[in-house]
């Protein structure tokens, strides 16, 4: 798997030569290494094997726990204590008959302060340990519960502490090397069939340039980390994170059996993995496991286990199953907090300690949804109506830590709310669906919060026709504008609004409305200014490339049946793809930002297309402004390069064509010769008839002759 870690084939050949071994006589599959010795050759798949779940110890005591720190009692109270213990542990599982044994000191007849409990199954024992470890019987007796099997392990802990061996520092691979590409190209990963490939987007050459390819690589899917440093591949046994300078090497493995989803924290500090086990018996609980790993060390920081119901409560949808991600990360790129929603509470954890902030959940009655500001530690909460409308629904902004409510807005007769943060956390738009007076239908309005301004002013925005259905909403990344697709008919309208009009006290205002567009999805360029209005699904993949600065359409296009659209992180190119959602037309197209189709690649069984994200720009905003002001100066160099490349390309093309043409001419010359040689024989086959296919075409003259021929005569008597 990891080519770099293993000897290269040429090295092996050289070594074999030195030893006088003919490699071709060896069948590698028949070579058996002595057990326990791998001659320093790391096997491709061995470490995966190691990560299979550790085999269960078959000591036969897997179902026995040891409960320590019990009160020491005299024989009179023995039965009472036994009864108490039995009562506590009967709740968690079935204690075997005679499975509770409390040893007694033969000298004093007093108990020794511990007991053994044998359950029916190891599972019950484990659960009992989890549930009662730390159980407070009274102030001075807090249970310490261990598995019987573990006792031996604890006994073998050496008394002397030996300092851990400190490994010499090895310079790591340059994980952000791709950013230093001379041609400033971007990478993307695709998964089609069994092959996963990473390419450079070489727009100048109008083709993708392969970087790395692996077959049979992925069991489930691949995902870039949010800053593009790593590529995670998800397998049955867990997730593997890859990265590196030129090839993709293992960085870490994150074992998690049957992992289904993964999620990176936005600052790439942590990785969350999720698995769920469908119960074979419907009465059993559907258990889910969440692990949070430190991405750089590979250490498991915290795990969460429980039944699926614990993780699905709350949220607006009453759907079965979970909505991924369960944990939402807050605090911007520092990954300070993560939170999940529960019944009437938000669970906010700190990554310093991996425990709940203030050691308790944040109680919010009837909370329906929440989201973090993308840059600050601000939580936006949506609370549903309580008491049949006696207590209105509300949206509130809460600062973490401290849980200080920054702003709150009550909303009446609300059916649903959706929150949209602008990428810099400057604005929050809340889409509110309200019931009409009759409660039979809903209409939509927006509440716009200006987070960075004093007192967080709120503005209410209603569309010109407030009965319009909202099909899509999107903020301009890092900008102050947003786009809305609204309308009921088959051709909805698209409107653009700006938050920055009207002098000092800025107000929201409409820039323009485009009427009757075939669009149902919005894709802003990550650099802002440009947007792709896309008509996916029912609209068959209509694309419109729109410039919001000049309010004009730059180009329209179509990628028939298009299912996915993604801008590259710089906003220079757009990828449109048809994935396996449709059986046909699978593949992807690459467009320039202004809607010019650059190249298309068909791929059967196309699963995924993902651009490699960029970390945040290191340039200050002043510097960026300076560059855009003097763009002409900077672009000169690149324009010259572009021209060179296109010249070289056309030269190459010409050459290739000439070669093909010459090759063809040699073939046809030979064929002609054969044909000449065989002429006589052909004439013979045709009984000397001279008209072969050669040269006789001009000899005939077309004459129009009218001829009548009686085919059949019928006589019928007509009465």
């Amino acid at each position: 798997m990891a080519a770099a870690a293993v000897l290269s084939m040429s090295e092996i050949e050289n070594k074999a030569m030195n030893l006088g071994i003919d490699l071709s006589t060896i069948v590698f599959d028949n070579v058996v290494l002595p057990p326990g010795d791998d001659f320093g050759i790391t096997s491709d798949d061995e470490d995966i094997l190691h990560e299979e779940v550790a085999p269960e110890f078959e000591t036969g005591y897997g179902n026995v726990i040891v409960v320590d720190n019990l009160p020491v009692v005299s024989p009179e109270k023995f039965a009472k204590l036994e009864g108490v213990i039995r009562k506590i542990y009967s709740q968690t599982g079935v204690i075997k008959e005679g499975g509770l044994w409390m040893p007694v000191n033969p000298d004093t007849n007093m108990t020794l302060g511990y007991c053994f409990i044998e359950f029916n199954t190891a599972q019950e024992a484990k659960e009992a340990k989890e549930k009662t470890d730390g159980y407070k019987l009274d102030k001075s007796h807090i249970f310490i519960v261990d598995m019987f099997d573990d006792i031996e392990r604890y006994m073998n802990v050496p008394e002397e502490w030996t300092p851990a061996e400190i490994k010499p520092y090895e310079a790591g691979d340059h994980l952000q090397h791709w950013l230093t590409d001379e041609k400033a190209r971007d990478q993307f990963v695709i998964r089609a069939g069994i092959v996963t490939e990473i390419f450079w987007n070489d727009a100048r050459q109008l083709r993708p340039d392969p970087v790395y390819q692996y077959q049979y690589w992925i069991d489930n899917f691949v995902q870039w980390s949010p800053l593009g440093t790593y590529l995670a591949t998800v397998h049955r046994q867990g997730a593997i994170v890859w990265g590196g300078k030129s090839t993709f090497n293992h960085i870490h493995r994150f074992p998690h059996n049957q992992v289904k989803h993964i999620d990176f924290s936005p600052g790439e500090r942590f990785l969350v993995t999720y698995s769920s086990q469908e119960p074979s018996n419907p009465r059993d609980t559907h258990r889910v496991v969440l692990n949070i790993f430190d991405l750089r060390t590979g250490k498991l920081m915290r795990d969460f286990k429980g039944s699926v119901d614990d993780f699905t409560t709350g949220g607006s949808g009453g759907l079965s199953g979970i909505s991924w991600p369960i944990f939402k990360w807050g605090g911007g790129n520092e990954d300070k907090y993560f939170a999940r929603i529960g019944k009437n509470a938000i669970y906010v954890y700190e990554t310093e300690t991996f425990i709940l902030v203030d050691k308790k959940s944040y109680k919010v009655d009837n909370v329906g949804d929440f989201s973090w500001s993308p840059t600050d530690s601000i939580l936006a909460l949506f609370v549903l109506e309580l008491g049949g409308g006696n207590q209105p629904a509300r949206v509130s902004l809460v600062q973490m830590p401290g849980k200080v409510e920054l702003r709150q807005k009550n909303l009446f007769s609300v059916s649903d709310c959706k929150m949209y943060w602008q990428s810099n956390g400057e604005y929050l738009a809340v889409k509110v669906d309200r019931y009409t007076k009759t409660k039979k239908s809903t209409y939509t309005g927006f509440e716009l919060f200006r987070i960075k301004e004093r007192d967080i002013p709120i503005e209410v925005l209603e569309l010109d026709n407030k009965n319009d259905k909202i099909i899509a909403f999107a903020w301009e990344p890092k900008g102050h504008r947003f786009a809305v697709i609204h309308g009921d008919g088959p051709r909805p309208d698209v409107s653009f609004y700006s938050m920055k009009t009207g002098g000092i006290t800025a107000r929201v205002s409409k820039l323009t409305t485009l009427k009757a567009k075939q669009a149902n999805a919005l894709y802003w360029s990550p650099a802002g200014r440009f947007i792709v209005l896309a008509g996916l699904k029912g609209f068959n993949g209509q694309l419109e490339f729109y410039n919001v600065d000049d309010l004009e359409t730059m180009a329209t296009g179509e990628h028939f049946m298009c299912t996915d659209i993604e801008w590259d992180p710089t906003g220079r190119y757009v990828a449109t793809a048809v994935t396996l959602v449709h059986v046909m037309e699978n593949g992807f197209h690459i467009w320039s930002f202004n809607g010019k189709l650059l190249y298309r690649i068909p791929k059967d069984h196309f699963f995924q297309f993902q651009w490699r994200p960029h970390p945040q720009s290191l340039l200050s905003s002043e510097k960026e402004e300076e560059i855009s002001r003097n763009l002409r100066k900077y672009s000169k160099k690149y324009e010259a390069e572009d021209q060179d490349v296109s010249l070289a390309l056309s030269e190459q093309n010409r050459k290739k064509r000439r070669v093909l043409q010459e090759e063809w001419e040699t073939w046809t010359a030979r064929w002609k010769q054969y044909h000449e040689e065989e002429r006589e024989l052909r004439l013979q086959l045709r009984d000397g008839e001279p008209s072969d296919d050669e040269g006789s075409q001009e000899q005939y003259e077309a004459k129009e002759v009218e001829a009548e021929e009686v085919l059949d005569v019928h006589e019928e008597i007509v009465d």
Binding site: N540, F560, G587, L660, Q661, Y674, L685, S691
Partner: protein
């Protein structure tokens, strides 16, 4: 280029063939009647009645007097082109898939499908000068290839037989002994069923189309792969222009896969490729179903296509077609 839409067949087209002079166009379809048309204006001239099943293939003799047709009714029939009378019927115990006259029209290759336990065969029959003397004896019978043989044609000087079919391998046989001479390479060759095969006029090279979404050009004598034309759809029909260095390739998604939402989804265009550079030149739209048959007029100035939709579309090229520069 305004096409002439030739309506006459009631079922999907299967095969198209021009006579040598290029004034007649013969069409076969899944309805039971092969039809002859004026190749210039698309007028229907007549039909050949007698088959009792889909007609898969036909060939017309050098002097345009004899027509041979192969049908799913397990017969191959010999017709008088002018009068439409049936001269002879070769009967088999499985459907006949393809027919091809030899140079000199004295022999015909017939392939039969695997059917009811019978394997597929390639058979050579002798065509008597006088239909009265015609017998059904086979001069040669070749068995061996697995699955259906979709096409078998004569090589130069009738010395070889070239066959292609469901097992995606092209084979060259000795037409005297029936010995296998050459097989196409599995790696570089087609990966799925070969649906069609078209011989260039001088028999020096031929083009094959396959469900693996490609068409390939081969040297007839050495069976070396010369060119590959990559498509985005399964190929059902191919033709080589006798005049320019162009090939035309047609096909489309199989009926079961066609989405009902849009005509474009199926890609029912006939695509033109530059034979030497392998670049796409253009496409001709129009059919409502996959293209099953393509043929160039021997003068290279028009071509016709037959579709699953039951239409034959006859296209006369515009003058600017002849001045395309690549």
């Amino acid at each position: 280029m305004r096409p002439i839409l030739m309506k006459g067949h009631e079922r999907p087209l299967t095969f198209l063939k021009y006579n040598r002079e290029g004034d007649l166009l013969l069409s076969c379809a899944k309805d039971h009647t092969p039809t002859v048309w004026f190749a210039d204006d698309g007028q229907r001239l007549g039909t050949y009645r007698g088959h009792n099943g889909a007609v898969w293939c036909c060939d017309v003799s050098h002097d345009s007097t004899r027509l041979v047709t192969g049908s799913a009714d397990q017969s191959v029939k010999l017709w008088d082109v002018q009068t439409g009378t049936q001269l002879y019927s070769f009967n088999f115990n499985s459907p006949a898939r393809s027919v091809d006259f030899s140079v000199g029209d004295k022999l015909v290759i017939i392939t039969t499908d695997p059917f009811m336990g019978n394997p597929s065969t390639i058979q050579v029959k002798r065509i008597a000068e006088d239909p009265e003397d015609q017998t059904s004896d086979s001069v040669l019978t070749i068995k061996g290839p697995q699955g259906r043989i979709n096409r078998a044609v004569w090589g130069p000087l009738n010395k070889t037989i070239i066959s292609a079919g469901e097992d995606s391998i092209i084979r060259i046989w000795d037409s005297e002994t029936g010995r296998l001479l050459k097989e196409s390479d599995k790696e570089s060759g087609h990966q799925k069923t070969i649906s069609s095969l078209c011989m260039f006029t001088d028999k020096s090279h031929f083009l094959t189309g396959s469900a693996d979404k490609s068409a390939k050009l081969w040297d007839t004598r050495s069976l070396t792969l010369l060119k590959t034309y990559q498509m985005d759809r399964p190929v059902n029909a191919v033709a080589i222009s006798p005049l320019l260095d162009h090939v035309v390739i047609g096909g489309g998604q199989e009926a079961v896969n066609v989405t009902m939402t849009d005509r474009r989804a199926g890609k029912f265009e006939a695509k033109f490729y530059h034979k030497i550079l392998q670049d796409e030149i253009g496409g001709v739209k129009g059919h409502f179903g996959p293209i099953n048959a393509l043929a160039f007029n021997p003068d290279g100035r028009s071509f016709s296509s037959g579709g699953e939709d039951g239409y034959v579309r006859l296209h006369h090229f515009d003058p600017d077609y002849f001045s395309i520069r690549m």
